[in-house]
């Protein structure tokens, strides 16, 4: 490497580089700048357009408000989701035998928080795109950005939910053009050759 750095003539330097590049490939790994700037894969958090501190503050406020709301509620029988429906969904799984009465009650509150958390994150995506209508793609984006929501990925197909910010996830769906196209032949290869009838036969004695 020192010799390369101190090579005076341009031609000799080029020659030396070309000559020594092969054997010196392994020991002298070129720095990444020489090949070109690498596009480092961004973390899921960095995909969010909203400032991190504001987003985290929203989340913290949300969970703090949930605890406060539960402590302040005087009538816990005022619920937003019907217990019987929750129980039916729980028992749709044939492996589930019995469900205690408290489980649907707990799920009613859990689903409230789940709906609000998912909606809040989806709305953040809609705001990033300057929209006022919450779309299915916003929900898909919120699901893809949150690890605990992985189990929901089947509900929102990736095609619908590919956010623009995720450049790595975008791919060209168009099919490549056919390279080997067989064209019909332009000539008829087979030829039929018949023997002419000799005229002498007709003039025989």
């Amino acid at each position: 490497m020192d010799q390369n750095q101190h090579g005076q003539p341009t031609q000799e330097a080029v020659g030396k580089n070309q000559y020594q590049s092969n054997p010196m490939m392994a020991p002298t790994n070129p720095p990444s700048e020489t090949i070109g700037p690498y596009v480092t894969s961004s973390f899921p958090r960095e995909k969010q357009h909203a400032p991190q501190d504001i987003y985290q503050e929203q989340l913290n406020n949300f969970w703090a408000k949930q605890c406060q709301e539960i402590e302040e509620t005087t009538d816990l029988r005022t619920h937003s989701l019907p217990y019987a429906r929750i129980k039916k969904i729980m028992k749709a799984d044939r492996d589930v035998r019995m469900v205690s009465a408290e489980a649907p009650v707990l799920f009613a509150k859990a689903c409230e928080m789940f709906i609000m958390e998912l909606t809040m994150k989806a709305w953040a995506n809609a705001e990033d795109h300057r929209r006022r209508i919450l779309q299915k793609s916003d929900i898909a984006s919120a699901i893809s950005k949150t690890d605990v929501f992985d189990f929901l990925e089947d509900i929102v197909p990736r095609d619908v939910g590919i956010p623009r910010s995720s450049i790595a996830q975008n791919f060209d769906l168009s099919m490549p053009p056919h390279q080997n196209v067989t064209y019909p032949p332009y000539y008829v290869p087979a030829m039929v050759t018949g023997r002419p009838i000799p005229d002498q036969n007709h003039h025989g004695p």
Partner: protein, 174 residues
Amino acid sequence: MAGVREQDQYMPIANVIRIMRRILPAHAKISDDAKETIQECVSEYISFITAEANERCQREQRKTVTAEDVLWAMEKLGFDNYAHPLSLYLHRYRKTEGEPASARRASASASPSMQMHPRTHPHSHPPNYSHHGFGMFDFDPSSQGFYRDDASSSGSGGFVASFDPYANIKRDPL
């Protein structure tokens, strides 16, 4: 019953929309496919947590999925934020559950089923009840029977809570 009906697989969409609006700003609109997607996500969430809770039951050779199993499953599946508020909720529910049945019936009659939304709102401004009017939704809930289901579910839920055959289990803490 003869199989699970289509509408029984999801939470009532009116309830889902009402909860969504609690967290959204007033000028926000919700597309129809977003409403349906949230509906599907909620059912998937219940099934996902229930399956994990049920596995724990079977390992411990118990037959009844309890609230504790649900809480345990949520923490195991990464829903740590939910565990604390839900523990508070469960404790408070058990306190009120200890009230006499007559007081419970009086409380039930005091709060009709149409009063679905909780009294405490996350927004500081007073609640605008026109937002909860039926005209705001894309359909007439009474015609589609959603509120009838809610009313019957709430009523049956109340009675089931009173006459639940597993009442002895819920009063037996783990």
